[in-house]
C-alpha cells in the first residue's frame, strides 16, 4: 500500500496559493479528515474549487474560519451565512459558476479538452465578457476547462491500487475532480485488496489516484461523526456532519 499516507503527510503536497479541488455536495462526499488537517495548518491563500463551502464549522466551512482560503470557485454559496459573511467582510473572493458548467469544466480539465460551448448562462450576467459562438443557429458561451493543483476527494472504498467506489450521492463531483487534479488525494472509509472490486464497479480507476488517506470520521445513523468526541456528540446532536 504505497499510496496510503497520514493526513499530515497529505497536506504536505499542498502549497500556499494552490488551487484545491474539493469534492462534495453539501457535506456529502467531502474529505473531512483532510480538510480538518488543512484547517489546523498554516496553509494560506488557497483557492477552493467546490460546489459549495460545506457548512459553518464543517468541511470547507472550517477552512473559511481558519483563514486558509483566499478564493472560492463554485455554484452555491448561499446555503449558510458563513460564506456570505466572509465575502461581505472582504475575507473571501467568490467566482460563481453554474453547477453544470462547473462539472463539465472539471471533466474537460481531466480529459485534455481545452474548453467547450454551452447554452447555460447565455443572456445572463454570468456570461458577460465571455466569448459567444453560434453553432447550428443557436448561441453558446465558451467556458474554459478547470484544473487544480491538488484534488481532495472522498470515496467510500479504495482497493490497494487506488481504484475507487463511492456511496450513492456522495459521488457527485468527486470523480471528475479526481481526473482534473495534478495531485489527487482520496479519503476513504475502507481499503480492500486489489481484485475485490469488480472491474465494472470501479468508478475511478487507480491511475487517477496518487495518495490515500483513511477517514477518521465514523458513519453512525447515516451521518459522519468525529470519533474523538462521538459519544458526547451523538447525545447532544452537535458536531455531526452530513
Amino acid at each position: 500500500m504505497e499510496k496510503l499516507i497520514k493526513p499530515i503527510k497529505a497536506i504536505s503536497y499542498i502549497k500556499n496559493g494552490d488551487s484545491i479541488l474539493v469534492g462534495g455536495f453539501g457535506v456529502s462526499g467531502t474529505p473531512l479528515t483532510i480538510l480538518d488537517e488543512i484547517a489546523s495548518s498554516d496553509l494560506k491563500d488557497l483557492t477552493a474549487v467546490s460546489n459549495n463551502l460545506g457548512e459553518k464549522g464543517k468541511g470547507l466551512g472550517k477552512l473559511l474560519d481558519a483563514g486558509n482560503l483566499k478564493k472560492a470557485v463554485g455554484s452555491y454559496f448561499t446555503t449558510g451565512r458563513h460564506a456570505v459573511e466572509a465575502w461581505l467582510e472582504g475575507r473571501l473572493e467568490i467566482e460563481l459558476v453554474p453547477q453544470g458548467t462547473l462539472a463539465e469544466a472539471l471533466r474537460c480539465g481531466g480529459a485534455g479538452i481545452g474548453g467547450f460551448y454551452t447554452k447555460t448562462s447565455v443572456g445572463t450576467k454570468l456570461a458577460e465578457n465571455k466569448e459567444k459562438k453560434v453553432i447550428d443557429g443557436e448561441e453558446y458561451v465558451f467556458e474554459k476547462a478547470i484544473k487544480g493543483d491538488v484534488a481532495l476527494i472522498k470515496a467510500s472504498r479504495s482497493d490497494t491500487l487506488g481504484n475507487l467506489t463511492y456511496d450513492k450521492t456522495a459521488l457527485n463531483f468527486n470523480h471528475v475532480m479526481a481526473t482534473a487534479g495534478k495531485t489527487v488525494i482520496v479519503e476513504v472509509d475502507e481499503i480492500v485488496e486489489a481484485g475485490e472490486i469488480e472491474p465494472q464497479d470501479i468508478i475511478t480507476p487507480h491511475l487517477y489516484v496518487d495518495y490515500i488517506v483513511e477517514n477518521k470520521y465514523i458513519k453512525k445513523g447515516g451521518e459522519y461523526i468525529e470519533p474523538s468526541n462521538s459519544a458526547e456528540n451523538s447525545k447532544k446532536g452537535v458536531g455531526t456532519i452530513g
Partner: protein, 216 residues
C-alpha cells in the same frame, strides 16, 4: 406566505405532471410536489445525481449520503439510478429532462425568468438554475403571485437578473395558471375567487384570456 397556499400551488402543478415523465424539481414550492404526486408515475431527477428519487425515508433509514439537491435525505424508487454531477448535467443540458418545475423571483410577459439573484445584493448562488432553464424540455414556474412584501412577481419586464434567454411554458400561482405560446402570455385558468380586475391589478405583465379559458 402560508404553507397552505404553497401546498395549493404544489398540488395544482402535480395535476399537470404527465405519467412517465422525467421531472426535475427546483427549490422552494417545487420541493412540496413529491408529497402531492400520489401514485402518478413520474421519475424525479435530482441534479446531485439521482434519477428515480423517492420519498423522505423514515428517521432510522436516513443516510446523509443519499440526499436531494436540497440536501435533504431521500430514498430511491425501484429502477432508480445514481450518477455523478457531470453525467447529471449532461442529462439536464442535453434536453433529456421532460419537465423542470422551478421557483422564480420574477417572470416577465414573454416568459423569461429571474430566479437566482437580487439586484444590489450579493450574488453568491446559482446552483443548477441556469442549466435547467436552458436544458429542460418544458418549464413550469411554481410561485406565489406576489412577493412577501406584496410586490408583483409576474411583471412587464424583468428588473432582476435574467436566468437565461429561454422562455418558460407555464406559471402556476395560488390565483391563476398562465401559459406562454410564442412568447405571448395567456390566462388559462383562475384558481381562486379573485376577479379578472383584481388579477389584472396584481399582474403587471400583459396577457390575454385564452380561448380555452377555464373559470375557477
Amino acid at each position: 406566505m402560508s404553507q397552505a397556499i404553497r401546498l395549493k400551488i404544489a398540488k395544482k402543478v402535480s395535476e399537470l405532471l404527465v405519467e412517465g415523465n422525467v421531472v426535475n424539481l427546483g427549490i422552494g414550492i417545487p420541493t412540496l410536489i413529491p408529497d402531492c404526486i400520489g401514485d402518478k408515475n413520474v421519475y424525479l431527477q435530482s441534479e446531485n445525481g439521482i434519477l428515480g428519487m423517492g420519498a423522505t425515508p423514515a428517521d432510522e433509514e436516513t443516510d446523509m449520503d443519499l440526499i436531494s439537491a436540497n440536501k435533504q435525505p431521500v430514498s430511491l424508487n425501484k429502477g432508480a439510478s445514481i450518477f455523478d454531477s457531470a453525467d447529471s448535467f449532461s442529462m439536464i443540458r442535453g434536453g433529456h429532462i421532460d419537465l423542470a418545475v422551478l421557483g422564480a423571483l420574477q417572470v416577465d410577459e414573454t416568459g423569461e425568468i429571474a430566479n437566482w439573484a437580487i439586484p444590489g445584493k450579493a450574488i453568491l448562488g446559482v446552483g443548477g438554475a441556469m442549466d435547467l432553464v436552458m436544458g429542460a424540455q418544458k418549464i413550469i414556474i411554481a410561485t406565489t403571485h406576489l412577493t412577501k412584501d406584496g410586490n408583483p412577481k409576474i411583471v412587464n419586464k424583468l428588473t432582476y437578473p435574467s436566468s437565461g434567454k429561454r422562455k418558460v411554458d407555464m406559471i402556476v400561482t395560488e390565483h391563476a395558471l398562465f401559459k406562454f405560446i410564442s412568447s405571448k402570455m395567456y390566462l388559462m385558468e383562475v384558481l381562486s375567487d379573485i376577479s379578472f380586475e383584481e388579477l389584472k391589478q396584481i399582474t403587471p405583465a400583459s396577457y390575454e384570456i385564452s380561448s380555452s379559458f377555464i373559470a375557477s
